[in-house]
């Protein structure tokens, strides 16, 4: 059998940087092009404060997109991330403001609530065999309604919990390096992304996440309890959404019960722009982060350029298509 075997290796060895690094760099291409174009178009774009505003704007959507990435890699979809985020924020509001508990308990509440909601979606999908689209659509509506019910359709403010707004708005980095006042929200996004990335590539859960999306039946035939792992992935994603809930609550210093609808589409868009396939089995957190950043830079840049709002929408649509097209071409080539 030995005659025919060749190792899988990059075709051109001449390239100065390794093809892996090159590929990773090229993934940023669309993002970098956008940054350059906007910098040239407006002197106000490339300021530290605006860059930080962009990062800040990425943080919530980024965290939701990381959660969505996990689910999408299993071949599923989670339409409930937006309203689940709101629901976790409202529950945190109940615990901190209505019940007056201390801050750490609020953090635990948000993550636990999210994980529980994700677990429910996972159960519908794995045990009741409801298609992910429907199960999470149902969840999206249920959580939207429950947020309004529990909050009494009023925002819950966190004025009695000093320090709550620092979760997202404060800047640990800024305290150490004053020139770099990166808000904690952004820091949290990166921590979440690194952790999720680690889980995906180094743990059993991550392995089954990819395996489920690749060929669920084959995994089942290998004697793996696919239901349990699927539920675990949804629960993990829910927990991450809970962190998103904390971030937005802290940023707005309140739980806004009506917020959240539409965020799921933005999160999924970031995931797909980042190169994760909706049919499952492949995807990266780095890609998702880039996707989320592309969206945030685009939105911010067009606003800084004071493009008329209706045209902003048109241009955003065009650029999303072009960015993904460029990425397609790159992949075909490399």
């Amino acid at each position: 059998m030995s005659q025919t075997i060749e190792a899988t290796q990059p075709r051109q060895k001449k390239a100065l940087i390794s093809s892996g690094a090159q590929q990773r760099l090229l993934a940023f291409a669309s993002l970098i092009v956008l940054l350059i174009v906007f910098s040239i178009a407006s002197p106000n774009f490339m300021q530290t404060s605006n860059m930080i505003a962009i990062l800040q704007a990425t943080s919530v959507n980024g965290v939701l997109a990381v959660a969505a990435t996990l689910v999408i890699i299993t071949g599923g979809i989670d339409l409930s991330v937006g309203t689940m985020m709101t629901f976790t924020a409202v529950m945190t509001g109940v615990v901190l403001t209505y019940l007056g508990m201390p801050l750490p308990l609020g953090v635990v509440t948000a993550i636990a609530t999210g994980a529980f909601c994700g677990f429910c979606s996972g159960t519908f999908i794995a045990k009741m065999k409801i298609p992910p689209f429907i199960a999470t659509l149902g969840m999206m509506l249920i959580l939207k309604g429950l947020s309004l019910v529990i909050s009494g359709t009023r925002p819950i403010y966190f004025n009695d919990t000093p320090g709550f707004d620092l979760i997202s708005r404060g800047s640990l980095i800024g305290e150490i390096i004053p020139a770099l006042p990166i808000p904690n929200g952004v820091l949290i996004l990166f921590i979440v992304a690194i952790a999720a990335s680690y889980v995906l590539s180094n743990t059993v859960l991550g392995r089954y996440t990819f395996a489920l999306g690749s060929n669920e039946e084959a995994v089942r035939l290998s004697g793996v309890n696919t239901d349990r792992w699927k539920m675990a992935v949804y629960a993990l994603a829910g927990g991450i959404v809970g962190i998103g809930g904390l971030l937005i609550a802290s940023r707005l210093n309140s739980a806004q019960p009506a917020l959240g609808l539409g965020y799921e589409l933005e999160a999924i868009a970031a995931v797909v722009i980042g190169g994760t396939s909706l049919s499952g089995g492949r995807g990266t957190i780095l890609g998702t982060l880039i996707g989320a950043l592309i969206m945030a830079v685009l939105t911010n840049g067009l606003r800084v350029l004071s493009v008329a709002q209706e045209w902003q929408t048109v241009v955003t649509g065009v650029i999303i298509i072009l960015a993904v097209y460029a990425d397609m071409l790159r992949r075909r080539k490399v």
Partner: protein
């Protein structure tokens, strides 16, 4: 010696199909027990019941004398029953090693994976199989033969007491089969019981101790492999004698050249391949796994891009950039991987047969002639003996061999002047195989140009009027068909690596 496995009175019904009728089967430790039968006889179904994949409707299963009811794949593996499925069931986005150890990954604390250990252990298994394959290679970049080897490695890694192999060699060539047999013999000597399913009759003599034959979902008989002549086994399977007619090479030298391929190139896979096929001729393509035969066919067919090369049909250059261009120029291609490239498995038999020829059943307004398609489909079902309750059965519910026949029917119906058949008899039983050989010969006799790619040397030699041999992307020679050419001559060309290669012209 006590029995390792005993199955008695097994019953299984699917909607419209009584797949197993009171079937029995037993297995001793340290034996290779071949399970034989025509396509759709129920072999895979019986094994899926034993491996906990299907639930039986009736009957009993004993494992080491104790009654068991494997109700899930997990339960069967826990008993020590491993299976290599007929249809590849791999996770394409994962690496070879990750596939082998799915569900049993070496772990560190906190559910962390020990990836180096995973790759190391897989490399060990591969080397024990004498298989040189990178454990880190992603499965969907592997050829179907290598994927099959990964499946085998996976089954071996379980260290099962009972190992079921459902057509493990369908995608393998002779060298690989020999390697597999070494492994099987080793396992046998360790007391593992092996159930072996194959349509390659010669393998039975080489590896099996006993043979059980099934026909139409019923148990026929169990016989000793050594003392029973093959012809008897075949007649038990098909219920009649199958006569093999020797190859008769017609003189096609005067015929018009139907297809000419000049200097076809693409990267390292196809390196300057040129050949011609005349009307009425069957050109066989032989070579080892990964020799590039499939790549050549796909490039000619427009399924993959090519770097360079000219294609002439009936002497006229044609520009082929997609399969639809190729089909318009009268070229057809039956793929080697029916599940991925051949069938819309969720659709029914009728729709699949008509898929390449829909324009023939379409009125000007775009309305389909459902009746015409039904008649045509039923004709092929009869002609090829496709075992299906009706032409509206979903293809995914057919047995593997019958699925293959559906793909064959699709291309027969399309009626191209030039037809590539890539592993046309993969998984097809002896009886049907000779039917397909006859069909190919008829097609050639009608003036079509046929190219057959096959990893079974006997098949290439049985069919080809000329034999093209490839090695590592190069066409190393073209030999005449018929009795003059020997297996050794072919193997020599198939292993003629670049350094050792002298320029070859067309030998024929």
């Amino acid at each position: 010696m006590s029995l390792l496995v005993e199955m008695r009175g097994i019953e299984k019904r699917f909607p419209g199909v009584h797949a197993l009728r009171s079937v029995r089967f037993d297995l001793k430790p340290g034996e290779v027990h071949a399970l034989m039968g025509e396509n759709g006889a129920g072999k895979s179904t019986l094994m899926k019941i034993l491996s906990g994949n299907y639930q039986r409707d009736g009957g009993e299963i004993f494992f080491e004398g104790k009654p068991v009811a494997p109700d899930s794949p997990r339960a069967a593996t826990d008993l020590g029953i491993g299976i290599i499925h007929q249809e590849l069931s791999l996770m394409n986005d994962l690496t070879a090693a990750q596939n082998v150890f799915i569900g049993r990954e070496p772990r560190k604390s906190f559910g962390r994976l020990d990836e180096p250990a995973l790759n190391r252990q897989t490399a060990d298994i591969f080397s024990s199989m004498n298989l040189k394959l990178d454990p880190k290679a992603q499965v969907d970049t592997l050829t179907i033969a290598k994927q099959q080897m990964v499946e085998i490695a996976k089954a071996l890694s379980y260290k099962s007491r009972v190992l079921i192999m459902d057509e493990p060699t369908a995608a393998l060539n002779d060298a690989e089969i020999a390697e597999l047999f070494v492994i099987i013999r080793k396992l046998r000597s360790e007391g593992v019981g092996i159930i072996y399913i194959s349509h390659k009759m010669d393998e039975i003599k080489r590896i099996a101790d006993r043979v059980t034959v099934m026909r139409d979902g019923e148990y026929v008989d169990t016989v000793d492999a050594e003392s029973t002549p093959l012809s008897r086994i075949i007649s038990m399977m098909v219920g009649r004698e199958v006569s093999e007619k020797p190859l008769d090479v017609p003189d096609t030298r005067g015929n018009e050249v139907a297809l000419e391929v000049r200097n076809l190139k693409r990267g390292r896979e196809i390196r300057d391949v040129s050949f011609t096929v005349r009307r009425g001729e069957i050109l066989g393509f032989a070579g080892l796994m990964g020799a590039g035969r499939t790549e050549v066919a796909r490039a000619v067919f427009g399924a993959d891009p090519r770097d360079d090369g000219e294609i002439l049909v009936h002497g006229k250059p044609v520009s082929i950039h997609s399969p639809s261009d190729a089909v318009r120029s009268g070229i057809g291609y039956l793929s080697e991987d029916r599940k991925r490239f051949g069938l819309a498995t969720g659709m029914n038999v009728r729709a699949n047969i008509a898929l390449a020829s829909l324009d023939r059943f379409t009125s000007k307004a775009g309305v389909l002639d459902e009746r015409g398609m039904r008649e045509t489909a039923n004709n092929y079902i009869d002609q090829l003996g496709i075992r299906t309750p009706s032409d509206t059965q979903e293809v995914r519910l057919l047995s593997g061999g019958n699925q293959q026949k559906v793909v064959v029917a699709k291309w027969l119906l399309r009626d191209c002047d030039i037809l590539f058949f890539d592993e046309p008899t993969r998984g097809i039983d002896v009886g049907a195989k000779s039917e397909i050989y006859k069909l190919l010969e008829e097609l050639a006799a009608q003036g079509r140009a046929i190219i057959v790619i096959s990893s079974e040397l006997p098949e290439v030699m049985r069919l080809s009027h000329r034999i093209a041999v490839m090695c590592e992307g190069r066409l190393t020679g073209i030999l005449p068909g018929g009795a003059e050419t020997t297996q050794e001559q072919i193997m020599e060309l198939a292993t003629q690596r670049e350094s050792a290669m002298a320029p070859v012209g067309e030998v024929a």
